[in-house]
């Protein structure tokens, strides 16, 4: 008998432990499920943590309304397969209610997810929101704790984080505050794909190579949709592309790729020269744009 775990098994054991901590320590947790690859792994980890029982929390999607249609189909199907409750709150609705305010000329709705999420947390009195963020995604995330406290305004204070020592998480909160928990903190993009491969998890088709109309903008291929207006000089091309990360369709760049299997994707990432967030226009605005959004209460 070999008493050693592979790195994927060790990461899995840690993530299951974190999910069970949330279930044990919070009254009203929720798991944020977007249908993206990270949250797909989270659902499998939740199955591993709690089956044969049902999940001790509902799933929730903050829907920008600017979606790849494939993603929404997938999201609903996966929640139904699992027999778990799915809550959807939309940016559209939050704008109508005056909770979220688009600034003139702002086409992406990623920023508007923040007030929508905070309103949903308040509506359901959630005390902990489980997210799929990873520390390898971005520099501000690299410094965030696994259990990350948000004040009454949903804000993250990077200078005043609780030390996380051993596996002893301090999950105590005061009324009005809530916690964000990130079970995939120590996973990398490649770990996620290796896990999808090992667990044979279904993923939305847009992660695989497909023929799509795209337009070149700010150094990346943006998908053509109703939400994109061509600027002078831009022309529509039809290419074999796939997405590496999924956000608001108006700012999610596609990469040219022939990858049609998870194995192909793993090989592609292993050789990749650009980080996955490099295909997100919203992160490119400034050196600290993720930090700024996190401070305001972004995932």
């Amino acid at each position: 008998m070999n008493y050693r775990l592979s790195h994927i098994d060790a990461l899995e054991a840690e993530s299951i432990y974190i999910l069970r901590e949330v279930a044990a320590e919070f009254q009203r947790p929720v798991l944020l499920f977007s249908g993206g690859k990270d949250s797909i792994c989270m659902l499998r980890l939740a199955e591993k943590a709690f089956r044969p029982a049902k999940f001790p929390f509902p799933l929730m999607h903050i829907d920008t309304g600017h979606n790849f249609p494939e993603l929404i189909d997938f999201r609903d199907r996966r929640a139904a397969q699992l027999g778990e409750k799915l809550i959807v709150r939309t940016v559209e609705d939050a704008i109508a209610k005056g909770i979220a305010r688009p600034t003139p000329g702002e086409s992406s709705r990623n920023r508007l997810q923040t007030p929508t999420l905070l309103a949903a947390i308040e509506e359901f009195k959630f005390d902990c929101a489980i997210g799929g963020a990873r520390r390898d995604e971005e520099k501000a995330r690299a410094k965030e704790r696994i259990f990350s406290l948000r004040d009454a305004f949903g804000q993250w204070d990077p200078k005043n984080q609780r030390p996380e020592i051993w596996n002893l998480f301090n999950t105590r909160i005061n009324p009005g505050e809530h916690m964000r928990a990130f079970p995939l903190s120590n996973w990398t993009e490649l770990d996620v794909w290796q896990y999808i491969d090992r667990e044979k998890l279904e993923i939305p088709s847009i992660y695989f190579s497909h023929r799509r109309q795209v337009v070149r903008r700010d150094g990346q291929w943006l998908p053509v949709s109703d939400l994109i207006t061509l600027k002078p000089g831009e022309e529509i091309r039809e290419l074999d592309v796939r997405v590496r990360t999924i956000g608001d369709i108006s700012c999610t760049g596609c990469v040219e790729s022939p990858a049609t299997t998870v194995q192909d994707i793993i090989a592609e990432i292993a050789a990749a020269k650009v980080t996955e967030r490099g295909s997100r226009a919203d992160d490119k605005r400034s050196e600290t744009s993720m930090e700024d959004r996190k401070r305001e209460g972004y995932f």
Binding site: S6, A53, P158, P163, N167, L168, N170, V274, E287, T288
Partner: protein, 438 residues
């Protein structure tokens, strides 16, 4: 040179780095990431942009790790940052801990789960108080492997004499530490000497460069497989006709191996039963070991809940409300005796009172100071505690997970201390055990 690890059987190695201000820690990690080709083009582009803005001209490798706005503005590192890289056989999790403000607190945060710690020493400065402090903390945390990187060798002419003198200084004081394995590597993080490739500037150094050392250091014996310990974390109860009697005691094994058929004792109640199945989502397994997350099913329906511990009847931890511990104090407000705190130990949360501060450790003399009226921020000291309900614990030196705890201020909810439980004295009551350095 290296692509990412593609080997699913690769092992995980967690290491922490610490050093004083300006000894090149961020540069060292930047160098490891850069040389293992894990810096991507868009990250490099962003770095080049920021180098242009700050007028530094060339890329500053330290900027790869200094992520927050205040850090870039002040050129310092505020908080523990985690980095990831991989070689074909190992995946590495790096906890990069800053060396200036809050260093003790940050170092403990970063190093508490580490298999290995890298301490940087500036070749021009040699062993300084900060070096001793870091080594002491690594020893206190029982990190099995230590690597002393003597950095900036380029600034001392790659001198073997300088390297040897620093190594001897360090070894002299390290005889008083509890670290099994110490390696010394002369490096230049800035130039890449002895990071990935063997340095041509230091042919006198016969050992492995840093990355090869990290890849090859043997960590198989780091896990405790001898004393079975299972803190119950959560009880899985399906409330479903198909699983009417299912009661899965869920948790992560904190020590040893549990097998189907094993007799187990539940603590603190002392009731015994037998493991009838070890449930995982992927099907039942015959045995499970540290650090797997599983569900244990018992033959008897004992009253067991979160905070209890399952052990083997012939291998018991201590069970009690009174013990002594070494703690690191992490709050601006000093610790005074007789204060009450919430205490989190394994999966148990209860309350405790600090009965006495026994001593405060002096990093200058490396000796405990008595009396110690209080412990201030970043102080390390020994205290006597009394808990409201009994805890099931092992001395920290035997098990990092059943021997550790945190204290929480109940008014602010801040984590104010990290604690390591000491072996209770076996001698005649009234005689104080000799205090050893760690």
């Amino acid at each position: 040179m290296f692509t990412h690890a593609l080997n699913e059987k690769s092992e995980l190695l967690r290491f922490s780095t610490s050093g004083s201000v300006d000894d090149g820690k961020s540069t060292l990690i930047g160098r490891l990431l850069y040389d293992t080709k894990l810096i991507f083009e868009d990250t490099l582009e962003a770095l080049q942009r920021s180098a242009d803005i700050t007028g530094e001209g060339s890329i500053n490798l330290a900027n790869l790790t200094d992520g927050l706005r205040a850090e870039r503005e002040q050129g310092i590192t505020i908080d523990v940052a985690y980095r990831y890289f991989a070689t074909p056989n190992r995946k590495f999790i790096v906890a990069d801990t800053p060396g200036h403000i809050q260093y003790t607190r940050n170092m403990i945060t970063g190093a508490s789960t580490a298999n290995l710690s890298i301490i940087l020493v500036d070749a021009r400065q040699g062993v300084v108080e900060q070096t001793r402090r870091h080594a002491y903390i690594a020893s206190m945390l029982r990190i099995p492997h230590l690597v002393v990187c003597i950095n900036k060798m380029d600034l001392v002419g790659f001198s073997e004499e300088v390297f040897k003198r620093i190594r001897e200084d360090f070894e002299q004081f390290a005889t008083r530490l509890h670290i099994r394995d110490i390696a010394f590597i002369p490096v230049s993080a800035l130039l890449g000497d002895n990071i990935v490739e063997h340095s041509k500037n230091m042919p006198w150094y016969p050992g492995a460069p840093l990355l090869r050392h990290l890849e090859e250091v043997y960590i198989g014996a780091d896990l405790d497989l001898s004393d079975p310990r299972f803190p119950v974390q959560y009880v899985v109860r399906p409330r479903d006709d198909r699983y009417h009697d299912f009661r899965g005691l869920a948790g992560q094994i904190a020590g040893g191996v549990f097998k189907v058929g094993d007799a187990v004792k539940a603590l603190p109640s002392g009731k015994t039963s037998r493991i009838v199945a070890i449930h995982t989502y992927d099907g039942p397994v015959e045995q499970a070991f540290n650090p797997m997350s599983v569900q244990l099913l018992l033959a008897d329906d004992l009253d067991i809940s979160r905070g209890d511990m399952l052990v083997r009847p012939d291998n018991l931890p201590y069970v009690g409300t009174d013990f002594e511990a070494r703690i690191c104090w992490m709050s601006e407000e000093a610790l005074m005796p007789n204060r009450k705190y919430a205490i989190r130990h394994t999966t148990r949360m209860t309350r405790c009172i600090v009965r006495e501060i026994k001593s405060r450790f002096d990093f200058g003399t490396l000796l405990p100071q008595r009396p110690a009226p209080q412990l201030a921020l970043n102080d390390i000291g020994r205290i006597a505690l009394k808990t409201m309900v009994p805890l099931c614990f092992d001395p920290y030196e035997r098990n990092r997970y059943t021997g550790s705890f945190i204290l929480i201020d109940e008014a602010t909810n801040a984590t104010v201390a990290a604690g390591m439980i000491q072996e209770p004295p076996k001698s005649v009551p009234g005689t104080d055990e000799a205090e050893y350095i760690i």
